[in-house]
Symmetry: C2
Subunit: 230 residues, 2 copies
Amino acid sequence: MSNRCESCMVRDRALCAALAPAELAALSVMATRRTVAAGEALFRAGDEPLLCATLQSGVMKLSATTAGGEEAIVGLLFPGDFIGRPFTTGAAGQDVVALTEVQLCSFPRARFEAALAEHPRLEALLLGRTLAELDRTREWLLRMGRASAGARVAGFLEDMVRRLGVLGCTAGTTVELPLSRGEMAALLGLTIETVSRQMTRLQGLGAIALRGGRQLMITAPALLAAEAGR
Amino acid sequence: MSNRCESCMVRDRALCAALAPAELAALSVMATRRTVAAGEALFRAGDEPLLCATLQSGVMKLSATTAGGEEAIVGLLFPGDFIGRPFTTGAAGQDVVALTEVQLCSFPRARFEAALAEHPRLEALLLGRTLAELDRTREWLLRMGRASAGARVAGFLEDMVRRLGVLGCTAGTTVELPLSRGEMAALLGLTIETVSRQMTRLQGLGAIALRGGRQLMITAPALLAAEAGR
DNA sequence: CGCTTAATTGATGTTAATCAAGAGGCGTGG
DNA sequence: CCACGCCTCTTGATTAACATCAATTAAGCG
């Protein structure tokens, strides 16, 4: 089993990177690999999430349904990210849904909690990660609160390319957006039409180039950053 | 020292509630009580936060400065809340500033980390709390993303009364708002004028009663909840 | 190749920001 | 104790940004 971890796609980025080979071997025994198809949910809001996992490939969304019945996306998960709520009981507040086909390395929650108790370094790292995620969410909150539609879209594209692209957000980087316009709107608190208009505007400025709805190339990173308001 | 903890105002709510009396005594030895005046900062964005603390009384804000130079408030801290970033190095993203006079029970960060390592229950609880805080921040994000100005203000008042009022958000509950209109605007992503107008509107509806700028009484909790969009 | 769904584009309406005064508290000093 | 000035809050008029409504075009897929 251990060799599985050694060949893990997110070996360097994931939580378990903190573990020594022997510890990793012990953990890998209880890991289950699992694939979730695009559009399928891993958890639903209201369920108690009974497993913890590391996202190995693909992108997921955290989405909630508003009082009005529309979808709102409150976060995205990328390879290496941790999923689950150890030491927390009660229903999840959001759905966790695969945007693309996704591969997970998952553990029953109780077992994962036991592993955390046994490997303090793992627990400390998870705490650090969660605090960092909290910070990132707060930064996002800042953007959502006061940035213009143009800044939101530009900032989102930057973030997306930085996390999906190999080299970060540099000229020529091309990525396939894992979200539809509707999902982008749900994430950014805008309408589909506004997102679309801003995309065309950014293309008109020469900051990005679009091909089809989802192929995105960065043509002027500095311009995009300026549009994002930074 | 231990008797200090026994008489602690937030003994039941704070993180250390998880500890046995003996453990508490050990921890209390390295605790420093400290008062921060209204308007004073505990940390500044860019500093490395070298201490961890429990907020004992008063209210604090987490605030960042936008590219445009205005203040944005990304969170509030109430008695019993934990402050600090154990196992995380690097600069804080936000200022932590007292809105009212505040009392803290603080620990040098390294010592607090050692305590976490020594008391796994404490660490598990902090992780659970941080995950819960993340969830709350995401709910807030949801509100910031799409709620109308009226819903934001009503939702904020509800939250505030629930956390400051003894009985929660019930008819007749009166609280002193710890934020100015400007700070409310910075928190809600609105302008001072819009906040003020919404407050007057809620008063006109009979949901709340205001006296002076900051004295708030809830007159119709159900109406307020309806305005918050829930 | 035609159908279906997603994305773009245009015209109009609404909401909250902005600009601009005025009113109410509060502390200071006469 | 009252007058003055400062600051916060409130209120009004106008403008700008985004939502909404309504087609049209482009893409994905059998």
